[in-house]
Amino acid sequence: MVLRLSHVAKSYSVGGTAVEVLRDVSFDLGAGETLALEGESGSGKSTVLHLIAGLDAPTQGAIEVEGTEITRLSDTELAKMRRGTVGVIFQQFNLIPSLTVGANIAFHARLCGAFDPAWTDHLAARIGLEHHLEKYPEALSGGQQQRVAIARTLAARPRLILADEPTGNLDEDTADTVLALMLESAQEAGAAVLMVTHSARQAARMGRRLILSHGAVSERSAAGAGAAAAQ
């Protein structure tokens, strides 16, 4: 198992009262699997992803990434995990504005010591931005920026990609292209993907679909999932 969540709960204190976002979330994800986490706006699906990435800590429950229980890890160890095992792609502003596109793509891999120039070049070509490597992110369109983020994540060959509405800011056509690119590249790299989305159309392209509602997850029919996985 790349990922296992057991009875994870998370509540925030808002103005002194505790607001329970996640009540009891349990699921797991195998190597190379793709999983969509769906849910209403505010259902807490992004929170799940943040907890897995170690960007936030659960109130209760256990999260195992690559067999390591991460809820007990220190800030430094969590950061180390983000550097290596896990790659995160957000909805926007993924890129480091002070670095060129090329440096951005290489950044994560260099950070975790997994920099492989050939693989990085391949990825740059894969996302079709090999001629924009000297540009700064601000010169790119939103779709291009997201593609760079994907390339950057994959360059480090993470075991698990966490994507938080990675196409949420893009128009439908661009979104389709970017998502396809992400899934294909992930498959090529052998990485499992957990994608948070509110778009059924996007979710339908993932191997499995989970719906987060009232703080807990439930599996959606596996039929569509198989169809998507077969694509």
Binding site: N94, P97, L99
Partner: protein
């Protein structure tokens, strides 16, 4: 509409109180810096003025009898009644508690020089008049005067063994043996006055005029420092005002979109800034007072005169003081606002408020500034080549400094991109790239830091060089422990007889005024003695110079004369002498030549030997003995150790001032960094969040923030050192030459610069600390919001 405009502008401040505080604090602090420096400067000047007045009483010309006899009260009165503004000085030697003290009685009502500061303390000068009045003595002498009827007040500027008091009291203490030794001559003569009766002559101020010239030069350089602090202040004000505009672009756009005409909006902004400048400026002047008073308790006395004390004559000064502080705030605001208003006028009404294209825009702006710097440097070179006079010197200084400041963003950008290219680790590379991105936001603060550091390096180099020159000068000129001026040949004879056994050596000093190379010059004759061989500061000389001089085979001339006439070693001079040595002679503008004693006597047989340098192990005791035996006044017997100690004490005071200024300017520059960092902090989140998400902890990021501030400060320091040294060089070698015709040698003080660099890094560290701690404690949720649409 105006009312709504005001409301909108004001509401921005109400919801962003920090920005308002930043603006006001920036304005107030730079004004405070300016005012504080002015106050400290004024104090330094005052203490120098006092020093030169007291060093000399001698600096004042005197009326003396041609026959050298003492003067009577009747003669004093008759000269006054002829319209000669003379003031009597009664002197004599008196035994108190078995010790011999020099009593100096002055008439405060006519005294032409500044009176000792201690005379002005409680009770006022009136407490000094009469026979039961205050007397001033060196603090160390006071215990030894215990039990006398004198009411004593300690005054560290008094020489040891000398008590200053009102002439009435002096007359009473000394009895009939007290006589008027000198009549000091005031500088303001009545329009028409009777000629001086033939039995008198005016004796111009003597040896100490050179000291005066040195101190004048020092005053000038302190003035330059005042201007520098002004420049540092302007930069900070500029930054603060620029920020106030930048932050409110949205408000302006909304107001204009709602129909507020552009000129109306500009008027509102000008009015607003004027109010801020006046408020903050007033606070700044007051703060400057507090800073100065806290740094230097001595300043308080001067400040009372400058700020308060509703006395006629002082009022205008005080007004000027406030005006200069407020003017500084207004001028800085105006300069800053002009640029900002220009930008505002150019701003398209409906442009989309996207985040600034940092990396591209920054490098363009940096290049533009660097271009300005090149123009300024060129202008400076032109001024240096063709400009004349002290104004040109200051103009050169201004071009140099502002140009250097303009170079900062470009210079740092270059350094950072080189570092970025050279770095192999991802985090390090990002660190440099990110630093470069911060430059536009920090450049004002860093320019101010550069100016502050350069000013500090420049001024401490200048002050220290000045001190070394001054003490070297004293060592050279006053190598003997005691100096004697005999009244006449008979007294000289008696003195020599006594000193034959009491002193280690007696060195006659003979001189005549003559002309060399067509200009007035002095020729000295000196005895061949170890004193000269070891102390005289020769710049160039033949190997056997002293033997040759003693044998009359050559002469020495001072640097000024040699330079002016283009004379070199070994050359035969128009006087027929061979030039065997050139010595430095700071503070003197006239030419000077030194002959061996024998040659001098042969050439000028009629010059009497009245002046002597005396070498002794026990200067105090010998001086006391001489005073007691020969009735020598303060000018007739100069104890070199007193003079030197006093000069050094004055320097120490100036050093404490300079040290305080260093700390002050650096703190203000540090504050500018803090302000900039705080302003940047909110814009920083989108830049930091991705790196955080990719696996750097907040703690690591905040550590990097501190390192970045320190690195930028260090890089700025690298630029500041040469700029500061250049500044010192311009002050010593250009401004001083323009003003006084001779140049002060420049010495280097690497340890001082290191300490300053250390201080700068500490300032940058402290400035970055709080924003960094804030960053380390940032809620992850705030960082996460960067990535979602909810922000």
């Amino acid at each position: 509409m105006i009312g709504q405009g005001v409301q909108a502008l004001w509401s921005h401040w109400r919801y962003n109180p920090w920005q308002l505080i930043t603006l006001l604090a920036g304005l107030a602090l730079s004004t405070a810096l300016w005012s504080g420096v002015q106050a400290i400067n004024a104090e330094a000047r005052a203490s120098y003025a006092q020093a030169s007045d007291l060093l000399g009483a001698a600096d004042v010309s005197r009326v003396v009898r041609r026959d050298g006899a003492a003067l009577s009260v009747a003669e004093y009165v008759s000269l006054r009644r002829l319209g000669w503004p003379v003031s009597p000085v009664l002197e004599g030697q008196v035994d108190i508690n078995g010790q011999s003290f020099r009593i100096v009685g002055i008439d405060p009502l006519t005294f032409p020089a500044a009176l000792p500061e201690s005379a002005g303390e409680e009770g006022g000068l009136t407490a000094m008049l009469g026979t039961e009045a205050l007397a001033m003595a060196h603090p160390d002498d006071i215990p030894e005067l215990a039990g006398s009827t004198l009411i004593l007040r300690p005054d560290a500027t008094r020489p040891r063994g000398s008590v200053l008091m009102d002439i009435a009291q002096a007359q009473q203490v000394m009895g009939p043996q007290g006589s008027i030794k000198r009549l000091l001559l005031g500088s303001v003569m009545p329009l028409n006055h009777a000629p001086l009766p033939p039995e008198y002559r005016v004796a111009q101020a003597g040896v100490q005029t050179d000291v005066t010239r040195l101190t004048q030069s020092f005053h000038l350089n302190l003035t330059a420092f005042g201007l520098l602090s002004f420049a540092v202040g302007i930069f900070i004000v500029y930054g603060a005002v620029g920020l106030a505009f930048e932050q409110r672009r949205g408000v302006f756009r909304t107001l204009r979109a709602l129909g507020l005409p552009l000129n109306r909006l500009m008027l509102l902004l000008v009015a607003e800034l004027t109010v801020f400048a006046l408020l903050a400026g007033a606070a700044g002047v007051a703060l400057g007072y507090l800073i100065a008073a806290a740094l230097l308790p001595d300043v308080a006395a001067t400040l009372r005169g400058l700020y308060g004390a509703d006395v006629a004559g002082q009022l205008q000064l005080r007004a000027a003081w406030w005006a200069s502080g407020l003017g500084m705030a207004l001028a800085g605001t105006a300069i800053a606002a002009a640029a900002a208003l220009f930008k505002l006028a150019q701003m398209p009404l409906l442009s989309f408020n996207h985040p600034r294209a940092m990396s591209v825009g920054a490098s363009v702006a940096g290049q533009r500034l660097a271009g300005g710097a090149v123009l300024l440097f060129l202008l400076g070179i032109l001024v240096a080549l063709w400009g004349e006079g002290i104004l040109a010197g200051f103009a050169l200084l201004a071009c140099l400094l502002i140009g250097a400041a303009f170079c900062v963003p470009w210079f740092l950008a270059q350094c950072l991109s080189v570092a970025e290219r050279l770095s192999t680790r991802a985090v390090v590379q990002w660190f440099w790239a990110d630093s470069r991105q911060q430059l536009p936001g920090l450049s004002m603060a860093l320019m101010a830091l550069l100016l502050a550091m350069a000013a500090n390096i420049g001024v401490s180099t200048m002050v220290s060089s000045f001190r070394m020159t001054f003490t070297a000068y004293l060592d050279q000129r006053l190598a003997s422990e005691l100096y004697l001026n005999a009244r006449d040949a008979a007294q000289a004879e008696a003195l020599l007889g006594y000193l034959g056994t009491a002193a280690d050596a007696v060195l006659p000093i003979v001189s005549v005024d003559t002309r060399l190379g067509g200009l007035p010059a002095e020729v000295f004759g000196i005895r061949d003695h170890e004193t000269y061989r070891t102390h005289w500061p020769l710049l160039q000389a033949t190997p056997d110079v002293w033997d040759a001089l003693a044998a009359g085979e050559g002469v020495l001339v001072n640097e000024q004369l040699a330079r002016r006439e283009g004379w070199g070693i070994g050359q035969t001079l128009p006087t027929g002498d061979r030039l065997i040595g050139i010595y430095s002679d700071y503070g003197n503008s006239a030419g000077q030549m030194i002959l061996g004693e024998a040659l001098f006597s042969a050439r000028y047989p009629d010059v009497p030997r009245l002046r002597f340098g005396v070498r002794t192990d026990q200067p105090e005791a010998l001086a006391a003995a001489l005073r007691a035996r020969f009735d020598l006044d303060e000018e007739a017997l100069i104890n070199q150790t007193d003079l030197k100690a006093f000069s050094l004490q004055v320097f120490e005071r100036t050093f404490s001032v300079t040290a305080a200024l260093n700390v002050l300017t650096l703190s203000v520059a540090g504050l500018a960094i803090l302000i900039s960092l705080l302003t940047l902090a909110t814009m920083r989140l989108p830049q930091l969040a991705p790196v955080w998400a990719l696996g750097l902890t907040r703690a690591a990021l905040s550590r990097l923030e501190v390192v970045r501030a320190v690195c930028l400060a260090a890089l700025t320091g690298v630029l500041a050192v040469p700029v500061g040294l250049l500044l010192a060089w311009v002050l010593l070698a250009v401004v001083n030459v323009e003003a006084f015709g001779w140049r002060l040698p420049m010495y280097f003080f690497p340890l001082d610069y290191l300490r300053l660099a250390g201080l700068t890094l500490v300032a940058a560290f402290l400035a970055a600390l709080w924003p960094a701690v804030k960053l380390a404690r940032t809620d992850p949720q705030r960082l996460l919001k960067v990535f979602s649409n909810e922000r």
